[in-house]
Symmetry: C2
Subunit: 251 residues, 2 copies
């Protein structure tokens, strides 16, 4: 049994670095924590490299490690690598999937342009999963999908569908070749969303909390949509808007 | 011109106490911060009692104080009363509206049962405003609507429509008397939401992030609805679900 006592152990220092985007980008790895997320990740092939359990933590009945290696650690180590105030006693080192926008399969897509709030990104990945969307594409300026707050907000959906970083303009080009309609979202020069036909083929673009979808992208869509504001709020939260639109558009 | 230098000033101590729910409940007051929120609140009658501006803060061109009293304070004071890491230099003391569920007017309502996350409560108030809903009713176990995080997430919508704390079972009784259909949300013994007719009269109940709407409430609705999960996520975020349902139900 592998056991690490000290938070100064070099392996622990390496794990802890995964809390920074730079190290996640360099290593292609990321860290997840909590029973629900680790359990969801264990159901998939080739995501978890190593499970980390702190002493005194009991694995729930029926928890399947599926042959993955476990390292036991002190509570001090778990605290050091945790992004939360009260760690649940379980974490895991995961491998990022090397996905390119050039070989994504599917017919329904959510494209996210420069959304910065990790909770919004995570909630949209969860919503896209619920709506049965085939993949999520994160354009420039989006929060890193392997940020711990994003992963927590996905509630495990990050393991259920491809989440790819890529250039959205390139991706729109691919959609045109495949004859998949692309919908932007905009408050100006747009049609009410209920004008868009339900379909099993579409790509929807949502944009930055303040600035919306970039003009360049909006100029390259097939149609731009807005959600009518009937009251006095200026706009909807981007994740709420994505939910309304995805559930309207899907056939 | 009124100016307060020290964070130990008794008035400042009194303001700071408004960061706790207990003091907000006792005093019937609450604290808001930031230009956008203060500006939205100033547009309404009888919300703001007093505006607080820290030295060196310039009011934007066109900012209308509408005759409300201003107290200038040191940066130290602003930091002491602020709930955020980088205060914007403006705050205000507001008066809670004494609203009772017994005299709410309207035909469309969002009822929230035991939702604890302030961001979710605030986002739902914003969404209800956008959807043109007449009032939001918060049942037992909900986060306090005057919590600073709730108010920030409403983006000002808290000033646009009545937000009332009350007993949801009592409120359902009132709906029955007024012949307004009440929809619960539930994953079991429920109909797909698109089975519910669009209307200009309805009350929708959404529930706790983990446990959903209480069984007692669900047993007293006219119909319970669910949003189909087409992918592999277990559920939707409650604010996203509220958005999908409100935009579906409204005529």
């Amino acid at each position: 049994m592998k056991y690490i006592q000290s938070a100064k152990n070099p392996t622990v220092k390496q794990w802890k670095k995964l809390l920074s985007k730079k190290e996640r980008d360099n290593s292609g790895k990321y860290l997840i924590e909590g029973f629900h997320l680790v359990e969801e990740a264990l159901k998939e092939q080739d995501i978890i490299q190593e499970v980390i359990v702190s002493e005194g933590t009991e694995l729930p009945v029926g928890f399947q490690l599926n042959g993955v290696e476990v390292t036991y650690v002190s509570e001090e180590v778990m605290k050091a690598i945790s992004d939360t105030e009260s760690p649940q006693g379980i974490a895991a080192i995961c491998e990022q999937k090397a996905l390119s926008i050039n070989n994504i399969e599917g017919k329904t897509f959510l494209l996210i342009d420069a959304v910065q709030d990790p909770g919004n990104i995570g909630t949209m990945i969860r919503t896209a999963d619920a709506a049965g969307i085939d993949a999520v594409v994160l354009g420039n300026g989006c929060a890193d999908p392997y940020n711990p707050k994003v992963i927590r907000s996905t509630q495990g959906s990050i393991f259920h569908l491809p989440v790819i970083k890529g250039d959205l303009l390139d991706f729109i080009g691919q959609m045109k070749q495949k004859d998949i309609p692309v919908y932007g979202t905009s408050l100006e020069n747009a049609a009410s969303f209920d004008q868009a036909a339900k379909s099993d083929r579409f790509a929807l673009i949502v944009g930055n909390e303040g600035g919306g979808v970039s003009k360049e992208l909006l100029a390259n869509t097939d149609m731009n949509l807005y959600i009518p504001i009937h009251g006095r709020s200026e706009s909807l939260n981007v994740a709420v808007a994505a939910g309304i639109l995805l559930y309207h558009l899907r056939a």
